[in-house]
Symmetry: C2
Subunit: 248 residues, 2 copies
DNA sequence: CCCATACTTTGACCCAGATCAAGAGCCCCT
DNA sequence: AGGGGCTCTTGATCTGGGTCAAAGTATGGG
């Protein structure tokens, strides 16, 4: 399976996202084979730290399954999540040795990693890797800037609705809609982690989720399982431009 | 001057930042010459809009002199600044046609631009351009994420101190210290623009600046000219890790 | 089965920063 | 000089979300 180099494979590969996302079908077969040679897998349990901010980071890699968070912490303990890594997201920085933020697994996590030196060598010989990484990084930058609007200007309710929209949009299980067309997914984060993402306290997160439930914007089963009967309504609550994206 | 291709030039060039920052001395002379062939300059007056979010953007470029801001706006008018472009900063996205945010000149502005198609062609033939752009984009991503911590978790006073630190660090005139070692610079933004960067109101910005002045953290001459007698103190006020960076 | 631990909800109260309002300083134009 | 825009400051008041506190709910271990 991992050695299949057909075009179809490089389209559909979930097994090794860097291969699919960073390299795609544009590179020659030999380079793909080289990537396979130097890659390795790492597994983490929920709650485990992948790397601490400031530590030496001698690898780059992407998420195969599970969810990881990037967080920054002040000396007094205030914490802000600065990124959410879902399957196929890339982490690590060619050309720099220290991690800039804590990376933590919030669920069981599998990453596809490359030791930095061989990866950089390969990147130098394979222009498309740098170009693909550039595209991915620009996407992340756009996402980070969009999040700055959420953090700086949105109300607590809008923040929650924005987070739910993003998770709905990106969570793989979103592809499964119920018979009635509802959007259904599981929250991969605790209330505290959501608070850290949104610049709120966990109490406010809890209150706003309750409020959205009372107002019929979402339905909850247990603490984590969310049903969105009307995605357009949720996007309105988030204060987003009403284009609706994939849900239009 | 613009045709000087000595190594010293590519180190010191202020005239065409993309050449210095995106290409540097690693590329061959021919490619540098090609960059010179396709570049052109654009001038904007203070307050003028470079491009509106959503508009077709058929160029990329970098700031030669002056200051521009990237902002996002909600329908109801709430706006968040998501980036500050100082001289040598790059803007634009190879491979995408629509601008993702408003770009506005806040001072008189000169940009060094490249039409997108020839730039992309050149990038495809010159791997170092993509690699250098990747580095620059990763820097911007780190800065954006650092700003997320400011927006999400810092108090108004800390936000102001953080902004002043960043401007002090990046403003070219910082290199000029007064005889006593004070750090001196001009604020390139109105109170309202600072508020939009920090997720505050302009009244709060004004009050916090007054408070910092009263407490002797900064001194003001007129509305815009700032003197910082003790940079370490300012960084403490910003809640930053006390490494001090260039000011240590 | 019961307890410990971690996560979540809800209530009561408070405060940092928003909002509303009034001037003050400044620059440019006529 | 005098006005008309700006930008900026300062005061008074209000409020969204933080803080503190307590109780509810899973889940897993002994």
């Amino acid at each position: 399976m991992l050695n299949d180099r057909s075009p179809a494979f490089s389209q559909d590969c979930n097994e090794c996202p860097i291969r699919h996302r960073a390299v795609c079908a544009r590179c020659e077969t030999d380079e793909l084979a080289r990537l396979d040679e130097i890659k390795y897998y790492r597994r983490f349990e929920a709650g485990q730290t992948v790397i601490w901010s400031g530590d030496r980071m001698d690898f780059v890699g992407s998420v195969v399954s599970g969810i990881a968070t990037l967080t920054q912490t002040m000396e007094d303990g205030r914490t802000q999540m600065v990124g959410l890594l879902l399957p196929s997201d890339f982490v690590g920085r060619p050309g720099r040795n220290a991690a800039a933020y804590d990376v933590t697994a919030t669920t069981d996590l599998v990453m596809c990693c490359f030791r930095k030196t061989p990866f950089e060598d390969l990147m130098n010989r394979t222009p498309h890797i740098a170009q693909r990484l550039l595209e991915m990084t620009l996407d992340e930058l756009d996402a980070a800037r969009e999040w700055m609007l959420v953090l700086g200007r949105k109300t607590a309710r809008e923040k929650i609705a924005s987070l739910l929209s993003i998770i709905a949009r990106r969570d793989a299980s979103i592809n499964l809609r119920s018979a009635t067309g509802d959007v259904v997914f599981d929250l991969p984060l605790t209330r505290e982690a959501m608070a850290d993402y949104l610049g709120l306290t966990l109490e406010t997160v809890s209150r706003q989720i309750s409020a959205l439930r009372k107002d019929g914007v979402i339905a909850l089963e247990g603490k984590r399982h969310v049903t969105v009967p009307d995605m357009t309504r949720l996007l309105e609550e988030a204060g987003d431009d009403a284009d609706g994206g994939v849900f239009a």
